[in-house]
Point group: C2
Chain length 882, copies 2
């Protein structure tokens, strides 16, 4: 087993073997860039160290032998009397873990080497300072001498000299400081500072291995889900010095602008400085534009070589030693969402990468960020509070602290921000009516957060400095502003900030590059992208975003919008079937109008309408409200029949109340009891579609979908009801219409019996929200209120299964159902219309499992188009995991 | 295709081809019993008729040819001048449908045949009466003349003659009646009554086919789940006449006593009568014991032949024509549950059947009936009302109309009957405390019915003549008794009757035959039978019933029994972990005691303890009660801290309330939040098991089971909690104990990820109640309250999935989980402890899917032992369906 490679030998090994830094150095060496010579100890050696607790037996002989090759090549010698070799020993795992592990510089310094370096560099201060740094770093990292002890010594000297910064310490003091540091090491360890450079090297390599397991590195890996088993490589490289005077310096560069994506060399340079000085910020570096032309053109040529080789934007570090440029590191550069889009697009146009690669390079989470309104960058902004950025976008409105009031004001077209201590499902009407939501409590997966994200509505949650007093009509910021109901505020869900007044926002236009990339994504993806939309406006927006149809048109609003609710309540309070039917028929004109708007907007495309899903009690007022109304009626001596009507409502509420409403009398079960509800809906759908066809010569492709089916029997029964209602309407209209009847698959049993169901369904659509609840046997509301936080904290769940589809459980049901459904009916059209339809990780699964389309809220369509293309790009290869 | 077989040719065909009656006739002919000759038209002919609406083309020629063979053999001829042949034409499907289809007797009678018969029989009245009967039957059944028109004519004659009964009509009137009937036929049909016997036969066969589809036959088949597609056979047989004087007669017999099972000829005989006269009851038949020895010994020899051939108790019909015995029918005889047991046992002992057949012959539903207390047969009983016999057994107690009161009285050891308009899950405490339940509303699957059956508690439900007034403390029977709270009543859930006062009951002892059969069943079955038991008494009973262990020891009672509840509430109201822990630790002695009792009873056997499953809010009083208490405290000027304590409870109730409690913070989820709850339970379990071992040298095999797990992560976490608590207890006790940690599989996700869960579980136990709820996504309470009835009525469900396991959906999950679990851990012990564990049809499935055991309530153990054996007997053959 070979554990050690010189940079020029390592070509062909990947970053899992060499670590990210070692890989970059090897690649740069291979393409002829000026890299100080060195060698990489592979991660394999570290893994063996982690497994056995011992450095592999052959490792140091191997290092020694490779290093002697290096010595021969450079003519320098570790601990050499003539031309001493100094080394940097740096960690470098497969994934970047900035600042998490240890490095040691200037290794090889000893008393005698320091003297020789002083002579060679003709700079005694430089040499002793380098020695001082080694003793300090080595003492701390390898020998475990507390870092603050070194600092205290240094401070004492600076105090004595009356200087503030290290560089101000005169050279004459350096020897004394080195001496003090060495004594400190001897005092603390009982051993003198090692004067054998090979001993130093052994200690340093050991320390780097060890540092893989330090607590902060472990913590970091846990957070970023990097496997503990990867291990780190160790890079042992000849030192170069940027702090050797005017002709020296260090810098960092990006091959393109990481902020805008513009193609230009971007970076900073600090003369007479080492790399760490650029980072530490004690002196201010200058932009690369302002450095001398020769160096700049060298860097530009380096940048071009890097991009051509790595085929992506690079972030690199370099040092100039006495006029010679050395490359010390390169890696893929981080960039803003905007830059990512532009870089991907332009690189594809430059022919550097394919269109597929360009599409594959975008992070869907970044893309999401591009789509929401943001605070106008030119506005003067002074946040009064900061919470969690639960759902992106910036929005302004009047503070409302009560859901009903929010709903009422929203209905009047007023812009409101719902501010609550926390939200519960009862606040849903308020959230619907509001521009945005602000809560004092709750995390990223709290009810408000989840609902708002689902609706594409800005939300700031868990704003812990807020004290919300709904009963008293105000909220206050701890030690700050008091904001009354009706006051205007602005919240920015992208950053989590809250501001007083209306702060101007801007709509981030979809950049032409982005539009183009999405077009490319459309060419790549095989998964359709539909929208969830239940108003003409949402339908129009969906079309703008290139939705290929509506995969879920909910019809609840068509029953509980304010102008319908009264009629619906009449229907519920009906004593006879006839009364019930009469009430419902009065809803047809309203619903006809709703469907007309949607169908006109979507003409030519499919629209899948889900018939009513809500239980009846959702259409009645709260029990408390009814009780209060009865009391009020009695008090003011109201007419008895009027009181009786309200008392009937109370009685009905009692009858309709359920122990577990989610598992109760809703969905298609309601229509089994009251088929008339679906009959009315079907009539409105058919009339609207026919009318649009008459007007425009073309109409939507109508799909009628049943909710909450648990077996083929319900489907057969209700398909009969639907077909009969459609037939009656055809006869009245004197013309017919093609339509399909399909079913949601949102109960585990529907998934398990999908084979039989498919014989009677023309399409399936997975309702993964309900399916997730039933599969786990937890209700989302209760789970989020009671134990979600604990479950995430204890890692019982990797992430909320309501955000990212639970592939192991729910996904297994989806896969079973797809397979069984298609076995019965090859080519069965299958989509998904749960919230997961807009989640990139879930979309990847839906692609793999062979769905025809995902349907998601309009806002998430661009993300879904991208994610679907990326899923297709991954092809048949299983998803990589770290 | 052959459609018609003479009886002696039909050997080898089964009852699906020949119908039950045809099969019996063919078999009896084959074994040499005296059967009047005849032929059977197969069900195949009927099925072709049903498919095409036409009698198959070749059928009548075939009948004619077979009949002429018969004519040759008997020397009689249809319509013959010399020795006319008369026929009976009877339907007979594969399954008995008594009285549902049509038969025609005396076919072949015409004007001339009647005259000839009068001469031959030397009895004109007999001949004309037979003719009259044919005209009447044929007119009604084949020609569609209303039956009441014939009756009216007959009544007019009887009135004129001043006689009451048909037999009193003198022979002289018969010719006139025949004439009137024939004229009625001509008037109604425009055609004379057919004088061609072949035409009569065609009409009759057609009519029998047609009668398969008459509404009452369809209804009957739907009810008994007999396929509409089977069709009926037609039996055409030479008539024999039991009404030819003193030497003639008809009777029915059983080869053993159908009531007790005793081996003796049992039956009734009526001299000078046709079969229908025996049934009609106008004259009283005599027991076979009292008929003449020669006939009796003939019958006894017939009975023995029948049993030897059919190897089961037979129910047969016979006619004696002028001293000659003719067998007209035989079939397997219906019998009481007691008789079934004795017959099966004795036949096996006689060597007539094998032990396996004996076990296989018992109907588990019958067996259940044997196990409940019954009204003392010697008691004078006068029921005041009758409802549905929802849960068997007879029981007496004081009427209580309120659940809380029932619970309170039950706690004081008083015997009460809970009487409610209907029950809801809130009544559960009352049902637990009561001896039995009586409701005015609800069907066999209503809440009360299901809960009571589950508890093995007698229940009469849907007693629609009851008006229950809980608020006023009484109930009344429509137009009858008024019964006040506190009055004693007796209900008999076996018959559905309600009686005033305490009616004596008897415990039906398990007969020795039954015990023996159950022992045989134990030898046959491979599925273990465990008990659900959570008290020492239940454990002892389980052992008496030969349970092999406790498969589910619930621990809820150990927290909410009256002496524990206060401590539990303290724990819930705790502000700190320490308070919480202190409160819970005080429960250890109580629980230790509970476990001691159970472990002593079950020593040597396994006991699987399920850790707490209930959500915390179940341990707090109702919100309304707390509100009332606060008001009361204020009113009487109570001490403020006391009021605050109750107000804290109210606050806690608010915090703990859930939208969907079933899907909420319960089961192992609760322990994820409060591991201390399980720690306390584990300590009590370990201490009890160790103490029993110290006392008795042997202890139970302890299994500790987690409820509501949805994935391996919860199991891993809580197994850690359990092991640590056990370890701590071992250290305190100075000794250790073996125990297993396993999990309920009661969420769909647990079933779907059973492969991964199995790696960490030492056993599985399916909780099919919760699993059914989640798989269908309906809550049992809401479903039964809101739409169960409609679903059963519309046949969306064949039967409540809470009674019989839903094999297509829930069963698929069970099968998946068993397979995946055993793939991970071959030999993994898997049981089921839901209510289905005591249901025979479900047990059959559990056997086939390879479970190790079922666990059911003590009362159902005998049934489960039997059902398990029957499942094993079926072996690998798939269950037959009709």
């Amino acid at each position: 087993m070979v554990f050690v490679y010189r940079f020029e030998e390592a070509k062909g090994l990947d970053k899992f073997a060499l670590g990210g830094k070692g890989f970059g150095l090897a690649e740069m060496t291979a393409i002829g860039l000026p890299v100080p010579p060195g060698l990489t100890v592979t991660t394999e050696a570290c893994r063996e160290y982690l497994r056995t607790g011992q450095v592999p037996a052959g490792l140091f002989p191997e290092i020694k032998s490779k290093l002697s090759e290096l010595e021969t090549k450079t003519g320098k010698k570790l601990g050499g009397e003539d031309r001493p070799l100094l080394l940097s020993v740096r960690s470098g795992g497969p994934f970047s873990m900035p600042g998490m592990m240890d490095s040691i510089l200037n290794l090889g310094m000893t008393d005698s080497v320091a003297e020789r370096m002083a002579t060679l560099a003709n700079d005694r201060r430089f040499a002793l300072d380098a020695y001082r740094r080694l003793v300090q770093m080595y003492g701390r990292i390898v020998l475990g001498v507390p870092g603050e002890d070194f600092e205290a010594l240094l401070d004492r000297t600076k105090k004595r000299l009356g200087v503030a910064q290290d560089p101000e310490i005169p050279g004459s003091e350096m020897a004394g400081i080195v001496q003090e540091f060495k004594e400190l090491v001897r005092d603390k360890t009982g051993q003198p500072f090692p004067q054998d450079p090979w001993q130093q090297l052994e200690g340093a390599v050991n320390a780097v291995f060890r540092s893989w397991e330090n607590p902060r590195a472990q913590e970091y890996r846990r957070f970023y889900k990097i496997s503990d088993e990867l291990g780190t490589a160790v890079n042992i490289q000849a030192m170069v010095f940027g702090n050797m005077g005017r002709n020296s310096g260090s810098g960092v560069g990006f091959t393109r602008d990481p902020s805008t994506g513009k193609k230009r060399l971007y970076g900073e340079y600090l003369g007479d400085a080492q790399g760490e000085d650029v980072v530490s910020g004690t002196r201010t570096p200058v932009p690369v534009e302002s450095i001398d032309t020769s160096l700049r053109s060298q860097l530009e040529s380096v940048a071009e070589k890097l991009e051509r080789h790595f085929r992506d934007m690079q972030d690199f570090e370099f040092t100039v030693e006495d006029g010679h440029l050395y490359m010390l590191q390169t890696r893929t550069g981080k960039r803003t969402a905007q830059a990512a889009v532009r870089i991907a697009y332009e690189m594809a146009n430059e022919g550097l990468i394919t269109k597929g690669e360009a599409v594959g390079r975008l992070d869907p989470a970044d893309v999401e960020r591009l789509l929401h309104r943001t605070i106008d960058p030119s506005a003067a902004v002074k946040p009064i509070a900061k919470g969690l950025n639960a759902s992106p976008g910036a929005v302004s409105g009047a503070v409302v602290l009560d859901t009903s009031e929010a709903a009422a004001m929203g209905a009047r077209g007023e812009k409101v921000i719902l501010v609550r201590p926390e939200t519960t499902p009862e606040d849903i009407r308020g959230i619907i009516a509001a521009q945005g939501v602000l809560t004092a409590r709750g995390g990223m997966t709290s009810h408000a957060a989840v609902v708002a994200r689902g609706m594409g509505k800005p939300a700031v949650v868990g704003c812990s400095t807020l004290r919300v007093h709904p009963a008293d009509g105000y909220f206050e910021v701890e030690g700050g502003a008091v904001v009354k109901a009706g006051d205007l505020i602005t919240i920015d869900g992208t950053t989590g900030t809250v501001m007083l007044g209306v702060v101007p926002t801007v709509e981030p236009p979809l950049s032409p590059e982005f539009e183009k990339l999405l077009d490319w994504a459309d060419d790549i993806r095989t998964l359709g992208v539909y929208a969830n939309a239940d108003t003409p406006e949402a339908a129009a927006r969906a079309r703008e975003f290139h939705a290929e149809g509506i995969g879920l048109c909910r019809t609840e609003r068509m029953f509980n919008a304010p102008d319908r609710l009264k009629i619906m309540q009449e229907m519920i309070l009906s004593e006879t079937n006839e009364e019930r039917s009469n009430a419902l028929r009065r809803l047809v004109p309203f619903q006809l109008n709703d469907f007309l708007g949607i169908f006109r907007a979507m003409k030519g495309l499919p629209v899948v309408v889900r018939l009513l899903d809500l239980p009846l009690h959702e259409f009645l007022p709260d029990r408390e409200k009814v009780l209060a109304e009865i009391e009020a009626l009695w008090k003011r001596g109201a007419w008895v029949p009027e009181i009786q009507r309200v008392e009937r409502m109370l009685g009905k509420l009692g009858q309709l109340s359920e122990y577990n409403p989610m598992l109760g009398h809703r969905g298609c079960r309601l229509a089994v009891t009251y088929p008339i509800i679906y009959e009315v809906q079907v009539e409105a759908i058919v009339r609207a579609a026919v009318q649009v066809r008459r007007e425009e010569g073309e109409t939507v492709k109508v799909g009628i979908m049943l909710p909450l089916v648990s077996g083929k029997e319900e489907l057969i029964l209700l398909k009969g009801v639907i077909d009969a209602a459609a037939q009656r309407t055809f006869e009245e209209l004197g013309e017919t219409l093609e339509y399909q009847v399909g079913t949601m698959i949102e109960t585990p049993r529907a998934a398990l019996t999908a084979g039989e169901i498919a014989a009677h369904a023309e399409f399936f659509s997975f309702g993964t929200n309900d399916l997730t609840q039933a599969t786990f046997a937890f209700s989302r509301d209760d789970m989020e209120a009671k134990f979600m936080a604990k479950y995430l904290q204890e890692k019982l769940l990797p992430v909320s299964p309501f955000e990212v589809l639970d592939v192991d459980g729910v996904g297994k049901l989806v896969a079973l159902a797809v397979e069984a459904g298609r076995r019965t009916k090859p080519g069965l059209e299958i989509g998904i219309c749960g919230e997961h339809g807009g989640d990139p990780r879930s979309i990847d699964f839906f692609h793999r499992v062979g769905l025809n389309y995902v349907s998601c809220s309009g806002f998430r369509i661009p993300v879904a188009r991208l994610a679907a293309a990326q899923a297709a790009l991954k092809g048949e290869t299983p998803p990589s995991s770290v």
